[in-house]
Amino acid sequence: MSNHVVFEGVTKRFSGRDGRPDIHALGPVSFTLQQGEFFSVVGPSGCGKSTLLDVMAGLSAPSEGVATFEGHPLKGTVPDGVGVVFQEDSSFPWLNVTENVSFHLRQMGLDEIEIRTRVEHAIAFMGLSAFSKAYPAELSGGMRQRVCIARTLVTRPRLILLDEPFGALDQQTRLLMGDELLRLWRETGATILLITHALDEASMLSDRIGVMSVRPGRFIDLVETGWPRNRTSEIVSDRRFGEITGRIWQHLRAESMSAMGTQAA
């Protein structure tokens, strides 16, 4: 496996408005994502997880340090080959499922047959075939999020960034969506970075988990899960699953209590 994304001493600062001090949101952070790796990031609220994703997506330029994707520096412009699924519903309410999923492909200028083939496959893959003509308002939250994933999937991104995509879903649906995500990851061979609050989700899905400190977010531990590539949500009953989740929680408990201004007991 080769280095797909490289962060070297990346920091992000936001200038304070109306005389308020600057906010040091992230870093310095140094790590590497391997080609085809499934990497999750967990950390206390406000620690800079989404800022990290923004820098990696090219939505925000690093203040210091160097971030590269496939060897090209990330400087605040989204490079070709990156797909992002946001926590909020980003489906276009005025377009039906098929139109939503094909939207980006049309802007890319692909021919009609190619668009139809890719869209039908993505819709079927996400289990939305029966709803291809439905508008987002007619779908549940989970189905809308699947539309957003399908819209990202059809462009065949080499790097998929997921910002708490299952945050609004119930626990059962999250586990099932996790299975679908693993299936998607295996089929596409893409590199995935998942931002999540859910420790079990990170433990189940990832090859590696980055545990972040309170702001300014830095990695305080990188946990190798050692799961096989063809894993499913059934690994939640594996003894090691509990050990991994417990190890992450040990770090997060201290960080979260620190963030809340109390001492860990």
Binding site: D80, F86, S90, P93, W94, F103, A137
Partner: protein, 250 residues
């Protein structure tokens, strides 16, 4: 027909029947109110006169001109207010109290500016309507979800593509409300202006009939005007419902 529609029609027919009854029974005098059937027949006879079409042509062309100008200028004004927050903050108190200004006092100024023609009335309709369009455009642009803008960046859309494919469709319900209000306010401004200040047009004819005690003609003209404006509003309402039903009220 739905139950609500049946009730709506029953109320309308009941109300007209009641008016017919009180007029025919002589409970109100004929100068104050004409029976609906007579109003209908008068309206039909008015529709057969050349005078009506001349006045209707003047009124509707003036309204159309003021709607067109208000929608274009109001849209650009809303975009400008969105683009320049400082200007928006400066204009906020003026916009908030805009409709408390008695617009008709500007009529002499518009006559000085445009001359004695239809443009002063068009200007009255325009200033009635333009701010409604501007405020709704601004509201629509302010309410484009941030996540859609971020999605547009991820899709690497150009600025023009983002405006055309994301911002405008997202703001469409607000733009449509602005358009609807602009139409209504333009009609109010122009017809009220004709009523008070003009020597031609449907508003003037209604006022003239009123002053000449031609009650049937006055009600006939009013009925025609209400039918036309009501039909336009119903058509717009149907389109608006279609837009909102797709979005499930989002």
């Amino acid at each position: 027909m739905s139950l609500v529609a049946k009730i709506r029609w029953a109320v309308i027919v009941g109300f007209l029947s009641f008016l017919e009854l009180i007029c025919r029974a002589g409970w109100v005098d004929g100068i104050s109110l004409s029976p609906p059937t007579q109003i209908f027949l008068t309206a039909l006879s008015i529709l057969g006169t050349a005078e009506f079409y001349r006045d209707a042509g003047l009124t509707f062309s003036t309204v159309a001109g003021s709607i067109f100008a208000a929608v274009i200028f109001g849209f650009l004004m809303g975009m400008g207010l969105h683009r320049f927050p400082l200007v928006r903050r400066f204009l906020d108190p003026f916009l908030a109290s805009y409709y408390s200004i008695p617009t008709f006092v500007f009529y002499p100024f518009f006559i000085v500016l445009f001359g004695l023609n239809r443009f002063p009335l068009m200007a009255i309709g325009f200033i009635f309507a333009v701010v409604a369009m501007a405020i709704n455009t601004l509201s629509g642009l302010q309410r484009v979800p941030r996540v859609l803008m971020r999605s547009a960046r991820v899709m690497r859309l150009s600025r023009w593509q983002t405006i055309r494919l994301v911002i405008m469709p997202s703001a469409a319900p607000y733009l449509f409300t602005g358009l609807k209000l602009s139409i209504v306010y333009s009609f109010i401004g122009v017809i009220a202006g004709e009523f008070i200040l003009s020597g031609a047009g449907l508003g003037f004819q209604i006022a003239f009939s009123y002053n000449a005690f031609e009650t049937s003609k006055m009600y006939g003209l009013m009925a025609i005007l209400l039918t036309v404006v009501g039909s336009i509003n119903l058509y717009i309402y149907a389109i608006e419902r279609r837009i909102y039903s797709r979005r499930g009220g989002r």
